[in-house]
Subunit: 378 residues, 4 copies
Amino acid sequence: MPSTMGETLTVSVFGQSHSEAIGCVISGLPSGIKIDMDAVKEFMGRRAPGQGAWTTPRKEADLPEIVSGLDAEGLTCGTPLACIIRNTNTRSQDYKNIARVPRPGHSDFCAWTKWGSAHDIRGGGHFSGRLTAPLCFAGAIALQILSEQGVSIAAHLSCIGDAADTRFAAFENTPESRELLAQQIATIQRHVTTLSVIDASASEAMLGEIDKARRAKDSVGGEIECVATGLPAGIGSPMFDGMENILARNIFGIPGVKGIEFGRGFEMAHMHGSENNDPFMVEDGACVPATNNAGGILGGITTGAPLLFRIAMKPTSSISRPQQSVDLAHMEPAELEVHGRHDPCIVTRAVPVVEAVTALSLLDAWLSYPADTLFQKK
Amino acid sequence: MPSTMGETLTVSVFGQSHSEAIGCVISGLPSGIKIDMDAVKEFMGRRAPGQGAWTTPRKEADLPEIVSGLDAEGLTCGTPLACIIRNTNTRSQDYKNIARVPRPGHSDFCAWTKWGSAHDIRGGGHFSGRLTAPLCFAGAIALQILSEQGVSIAAHLSCIGDAADTRFAAFENTPESRELLAQQIATIQRHVTTLSVIDASASEAMLGEIDKARRAKDSVGGEIECVATGLPAGIGSPMFDGMENILARNIFGIPGVKGIEFGRGFEMAHMHGSENNDPFMVEDGACVPATNNAGGILGGITTGAPLLFRIAMKPTSSISRPQQSVDLAHMEPAELEVHGRHDPCIVTRAVPVVEAVTALSLLDAWLSYPADTLFQKK
Amino acid sequence: MPSTMGETLTVSVFGQSHSEAIGCVISGLPSGIKIDMDAVKEFMGRRAPGQGAWTTPRKEADLPEIVSGLDAEGLTCGTPLACIIRNTNTRSQDYKNIARVPRPGHSDFCAWTKWGSAHDIRGGGHFSGRLTAPLCFAGAIALQILSEQGVSIAAHLSCIGDAADTRFAAFENTPESRELLAQQIATIQRHVTTLSVIDASASEAMLGEIDKARRAKDSVGGEIECVATGLPAGIGSPMFDGMENILARNIFGIPGVKGIEFGRGFEMAHMHGSENNDPFMVEDGACVPATNNAGGILGGITTGAPLLFRIAMKPTSSISRPQQSVDLAHMEPAELEVHGRHDPCIVTRAVPVVEAVTALSLLDAWLSYPADTLFQKK
Amino acid sequence: MPSTMGETLTVSVFGQSHSEAIGCVISGLPSGIKIDMDAVKEFMGRRAPGQGAWTTPRKEADLPEIVSGLDAEGLTCGTPLACIIRNTNTRSQDYKNIARVPRPGHSDFCAWTKWGSAHDIRGGGHFSGRLTAPLCFAGAIALQILSEQGVSIAAHLSCIGDAADTRFAAFENTPESRELLAQQIATIQRHVTTLSVIDASASEAMLGEIDKARRAKDSVGGEIECVATGLPAGIGSPMFDGMENILARNIFGIPGVKGIEFGRGFEMAHMHGSENNDPFMVEDGACVPATNNAGGILGGITTGAPLLFRIAMKPTSSISRPQQSVDLAHMEPAELEVHGRHDPCIVTRAVPVVEAVTALSLLDAWLSYPADTLFQKK
């Protein structure tokens, strides 16, 4: 189903940048859950525009309205939870000259090919980064449910251009490494209103990269690293429904993502099995991997070690430099200048989105898990 | 649905390494297609074991038997096409000592956690690389159908350990670059019984890496690059059903894949928008991207430029060196030596599997395309 | 996916009788369609309460607000179309005493068993007949698209209690029978603000049955017959995705439906093959069934003859007579009187809902059709 | 997915009447289950042809071969279980003259319209009643798993033509009615090699109807009633995933089914709410419906009372009388005589198929149940 993620816990996203509203319908939530709306709004605030010098000046309230799915006491009632977020502060006239001249790096041309002239070009339409707001809404609820089960999810900017942050201490899986990882996670979460980094000094270099791009009427890309701790072993299904499959499918739903790797990822191409294999050890009477090159997933199924992945995001496509394009109405070359308000770096605001999509993906796989085990004989 | 890929064209894979048979059921194939079984067998032969010094000595006939889905004339008849491949030449005794001592880097421990002691440990069970044989069968059919539409798909080893091949000439999208790319593809396809490389001299270095690993009772990882040419613009759907989403979900279904990137991928993290955006130009009266950093996909939808991605594969988990693990029956440390026949590098045999899964993913998305456009008003 | 119908054209319904709003998200609509909102509202008006002496006095505006899925010109843009309908004029206090005493014939007890005390009992929650309003909204759009392809869909009350209407002239498939059927359809559609019947005299007897039930503080059931004309042959897929499967699954989503039969249906149990088989004839150079006992479907696939089915609906569960139930809090017998506003017969308002669900089901199957035929060789 | 039933427990059916084999892939079975193959074969024997004077003389071994999904000990291992049944004793020449002259009442014409001349006409192809053999295989396993949870499923012939059997004692839900129902079920199950009836004397009248049809080179229809006891309350989901929706969708997958009703079904159209509503009572400290007009389902969710439904099946389409049809090659009228071996009544052999599909549907819904309740707060 288009614009829908999940099998058991599903999120259907609707809306365009300049439609009346955007929103989502969440199905499959457990019943009886009290949603902490303050936490939801705080989480959504982390992706909202207009917070710092490095983001677009467009300001939005982005207040989610839950229109169904709660009982009279405000608890989830087991049936679909729908949320809408009104679009305000939109300036459609900014998009007039791009209606027939597709922006390089954008979906405009592809959407025109697929849907004809009726596709909604304004603000990127359904492809706009704004559509990640409902994902953050849904993800904030999933994070709350996972948190009650002892699961933490955290992401940080592992690089912006050539400015890099410390990586998560997640390639080991010892009590010491897990303690360090917990500290790193706590560190990031204090930086809600600044850049999401482990090493505060990385923030300055990153802001430098962003500022350099802005001044050049340009943009810059980056990477995000994400970790989930506290997951039990055994979540995920073989072949096409493993955690790598589910996460990859959903994470590529975030605009601008162009690569993903789990654990050591591309580094593994250069490794030997004896280096890469994670030996098992006994800890507190249980079998656990002692190292975690696998990123917490083997055969698509969680190992119980921290689930770890890293993604690459492209530089913002909207830049105000003149670019070469084509006037589709006359099928002739046309130079294009994209006006309007655009982040020189979308990676900073994508950090909570990655956490949200990860939470939804993990909760979905977890909720699909017991069906395998009902009536199971050990 | 577990172990099933696709929405409109679906492939359900069944079997374990040591079950009676493995196979697949393909639904949604167009009717009236004459399957070229010689081409199917030749294609499947490219992943079969036992072909060169660098692969496992286990030999299998791997003859696919089509048991349904063809009419009396041997044409596809529109209903599910089922294929089985008998398992022969299996040596279950090789897996006796690992039944309760999970192999590092393997799915054994996760499967045991998920399904209990009844999971089929023999030969990796359903997680075995052997399950890619039915994928190649199905993929060979998809490749034939796509080929009749002018689409070519080709993959090669972009590296084994530190030995690298030339990359595809696919970051440009000019008549010249496409001609060079076509030559590269033709070059690879001549190397069916040797390593799949563009630059024949890379083959020697790669074989050296593999031989070094084997002699050290070790294994080595690698990368595969894949390209599809001749696709029309407009295939794929937004958010979670784009070509990146579909391909990533399915490609991670190939055992050992730990990373994927599209177009410039991770390199984009270090690029500026002005470098990365692909300008549009007019060619033969049509709008086409002049460069192809995007890898042929924008907003999840094909641009008409070559679709390009690269994946990372881990070194084979099965190595014959002693490794540290845990005896799950007594929950105490145990040293494990994995015997049996194993490829020191699984990447070489995965090349046609990547092509197969790519063909199936593209054909599935393409077959889903007209529903969007039926009754559409341009 | 819970509360979602369709494969290619999907409708996800959300909301509860007393939540902030109800609504739906429609995915897979063709792009470039201009929705005739006057027609949509007129169609929705046919199921709205408060229109005649025979329906509940609760009045609702039921104005649908489209919040996404249209472009700047108001045309469908290919991405999800979301619609919300605000709930107003709700009186939750009517439901206080049933919170722990389940109403006989209602879903209360089952919902409590499934979701616990957090399920939304108010007004039937997500099980309320009110949730058919978004289905009518979506169905009105589907009817418009089908109408442009020459397809007409019409339903009528075939009986209320023991008062019966004339049946559709759809068991024949001759030019004469089709002309008569078209006249019948035209007749029904003139009765939008009264009962939907073919034979106006049946209306009086039906109103008598309803009035008798109301005066007895009781309710009464009925049947609805539905026909679709103008469909091409060849729509539907074998086994579990045939038109009978799809329609049955979706029609049972309308609250109160307890039976469905296609063509001669239950009568066929008493027929011989020589009576029931529809012979084929040549008409205007095409092969068509001369009779239509099959109801326009063979092997799950449309034959081109009128698609015909009939459904049974139960008497309204909410009656104001005292009924025997159980106080779930103390698990002891309790007598229950259901107050509030309730239709003594829900069948009358279900007629447009049946048309809506039929239109959505047919359009979904039709939009799934071309994928079978793309690249097909005849 | 075509020819596939189920969401969590799925069965994909493949094969044609005259292909090499037919079979199915079952996904989502719990692991660790020991399949009782003797019981499976005995159950499959109930639908096999050639058992009595009233069925087709075609004899088949119909031996299912399980080719995957079991571990070394023969227990289900959690991954897809595939089964094939070889086709033998086929006589394709019987179908020669129908290749271009569609049989009235058959899918031939529709399949030709949908798939063109490549569709497999032989023996009805994928539409053949023979495809119910894999459903019986899968259903026999589901019945075994449900039986271990205390669930019994039984169906009987409620009528053949005008010869009727006693109905199930399932409209009450008292200890006495349940005891009587259990006796009825036990009675039917003793009639495995004769007709499946409650009242043995009905068998004679039914055989008379069948014999009369056969002697007239004709066929006759009938009804099947099915009941499931021992189900907990709370299984099923609202709107389109309720038990009526799921059962109806799947039951219409059995060739020849043209109607279904739950509980009082079509009778409800003539009832009042005060008659039809099932009051609740306290029994053994639990809330239970005292009567069962609803057929064990309210709001799509099980009530805990016996789940009851009845279906109508058409008379066999294949009759050896001359019938009027059309030569599709020349598009001119043609008279057709269908030769070959055909049951004058397919209803008798459909009884176990109804039980099988019911078991699979219920187990699927049950396995989907815990995901709703995981992490649920009561």
